[in-house]
């Protein structure tokens, strides 16, 4: 078990997601930044769907109660293991009682903790990902325990990797959404000619954009949405749905983020700048 001494801002267990229940209104959930998690799981030679801790903004303080191996990835958070600084994308051997804590957020927004074999809370509807009310809680709290399996004998093939960071990237590549053709020239110009600011309202469900574009009166019937779908409200607000986003919606789906754009955005926080770029090869 991993014991939570301090909870931090928002930490949850996430795997590759909950599939096949979207027709019952269940969001996919799963890690927001798939790329960083893919690397963490690769280093630990885990299955790519192994569950990790997704650590947002301010990290928790955690005690390991079983031997294992761990690796961090994603945002840079000045993490320490027993008060000694550790780095991202490097495998560390863990002894019973080792304490992992997180300091200042340096870059990015979401950090990921993987352990050998992955975390193993109960699988509900095909996934271990936290999402209330499918799971009892939406995030870890002080005093919680997160299960994982004891691992003593593991010799990683590669103990450390250098990662080409995308944490500074600001351009989100998009393809046309189903209602793209209903946008007028002015709205198109507004969307693609400027940069936007991530609003205070940003979480695992959706990222709102601070600046608005021209309003519209497009009316449509409720229809399916995806992680990465950008909705345009009648007042001109842009809402980017993320992993816990609703599975259907009634606002025009004007553009769709690529998988890469989703994990770039997942590392952004309030006040960060982004811009949208229509990707020609996807048109």
């Amino acid at each position: 078990m991993l014991k939570v001494l301090k909870a931090g801002f928002y930490t949850s267990v996430q795997d590759s997601g909950r599939f096949n229940y979207r027709n019952k209104g269940v969001p996919v959930s799963g890690v927001m930044d798939e790329m960083s998690v893919f690397k963490v799981n690769s280093l630990l030679e885990n299955d790519s769907s192994s569950a990790v801790l997704e650590i947002t903004m301010t990290g928790p303080t955690l005690v390991f109660e079983e031997e294992t191996y761990m690796a961090l990835g994603g945002a840079k958070m000045l993490a320490t293991l027993n008060n000694l600084p550790i780095q991202n994308y490097k495998v560390y051997q863990i002894e019973v009682g080792d304490i992992l804590s997180f300091g200042r957020l340096v870059k990015g927004f979401r950090s990921y903790l993987g352990v050998k074999g992955g975390f193993t809370p109960k699988v509900i509807l095909g996934s271990r990902s936290y999402y209330k009310p499918i799971t009892k809680e939406s995030r870890l709290r002080e005093g919680d325990f997160v299960p994982y399996t004891y691992h003593k004998l593991f010799q990683p093939k590669i103990s450390e990797i250098k990662v080409a960071s995308f944490l500074d990237d600001t351009i989100l590549e998009v393809s046309k959404g189903p209602e793209f053709e209903l946008l007028n020239d002015k709205q198109l110009e507004e969307i693609f000619s400027r940069s936007f600011t991530v609003a205070h309202e940003n979480n695992r469900m959706a990222y709102q954009i601070k600046e608005t574009i021209s309003p519209h009166e497009i009316s449509m019937l409720t229809s399916a949405t995806l992680p990465g779908t950008v909705q345009l409200t009648p007042s001109g607000k842009l809402i980017v749905l993320m992993k816990d986003g609703q599975t259907t919606g009634g606002y025009p789906r004007i553009i769709q983020l690529t998988d890469r754009a989703i994990y770039i955005l997942a590392q952004k926080r309030e006040g960060n700048q982004i811009s949208f770029k229509l990707c020609i090869r996807l048109v």
Binding site: N23, P178, T222, S223, L226, T229, Q246, L257
Partner: protein, 245 residues
């Protein structure tokens, strides 16, 4: 072959959206569900395909592979033209008990004043219809119900509640529904349904499918409490009737 025309749209690299005419019509929904069932039974049996039907659209999502839009849209047209002979998917009418006690029907009095109808009249109208489930979304197990009687149309509340309880039965504009879990909400609450619409501990967490019908019937507060206990211990089974379409 006179199925309504379809329009196929690209929607990201993993999905493809099929749209029917922009209307809330039973026969359109039925065509969508027949086509979904046909795709599942023959060309797209692979478990990696997820399908989300709603009102006038069907989204096909492949969680693993990128989709070649041109080739799959050609296939979809071909498959749609073969649709006619396929069997209809099974559909059910679910009879759901609702307590319209004022303890649960927080807005009954207000709705009664706005519509100039007595509370018994409102209950009679709300229970007189077979509602069609046009979609499930917004929250796990939240059904978009069509078929509300025109006389019961009342605008959503000016100020939404920050907390609407699980099972709350609401109406707003042309829409009717049940809040499957506690959430914020702006619909007028007229009762509470003791049957849990969504239960994550069940293999099929939501017994209702898009295309099914819902009928509400009024029960007393005592019966409501009994059903609630039965549901909690898992012995309550909602009443269902197979629909011969």
């Amino acid at each position: 072959m006179n199925s309504p025309e379809i329009n196929i749209k690209s929607f990201g690299v993993h999905s493809i959206l099929i749209e029917w005419p922009n209307e809330v019509k039973e026969h359109i929904l039925e065509t969508i569900l027949r086509f979904e069932s046909f795709l599942r039974s023959d060309p797209l049996t692979d478990k990696d395909w997820e399908m989300v039907p709603s009102y006038n659209s069907l989204l096909l999502i492949n969680r693993k592979k990128s989709i070649d839009f041109n080739s799959i849209s050609k296939d979809i047209n071909t498959w749609y033209n073969q649709l006619e002979d396929t069997a209809k998917p099974a559909r059910y009418l679910w009879r759901l008990p609702v307590s319209y006690d004022l303890e649960f029907g927080l807005d009954l009095q207000e709705v009664s004043e706005k519509l100039n109808k007595s509370i018994p009249e409102i209950i009679a109208m709300h229970t007189a219809t077979h509602y069609t489930v046009y979609g499930i979304g917004f929250l796990p197990g939240f059904m978009y119900l069509g078929g509300l009687i025109k006389e019961l149309e009342v605008p959503r509340k000016v100020t939404p509640r920050s907390k609407v309880v699980k099972g709350a039965v609401g109406i707003a504009g042309k829409q009717a529904g049940i809040y499957p879990q506690e959430s914020p909400g702006g619909w007028n609450i007229i009762g509470n349904c003791s049957v849990p619409i969504f239960d994550a501990t069940k293999e099929n967490p939501c017994f209702v499918n898009v295309g099914d019908k819902i009928e509400f019937y009024a029960i007393s507060r005592a019966e409501h409490n009994l059903h609630k206990i039965e549901a909690e211990v898992g012995i309550y089974k909602p009443e269902k009737i197979k629909i011969d379409a």
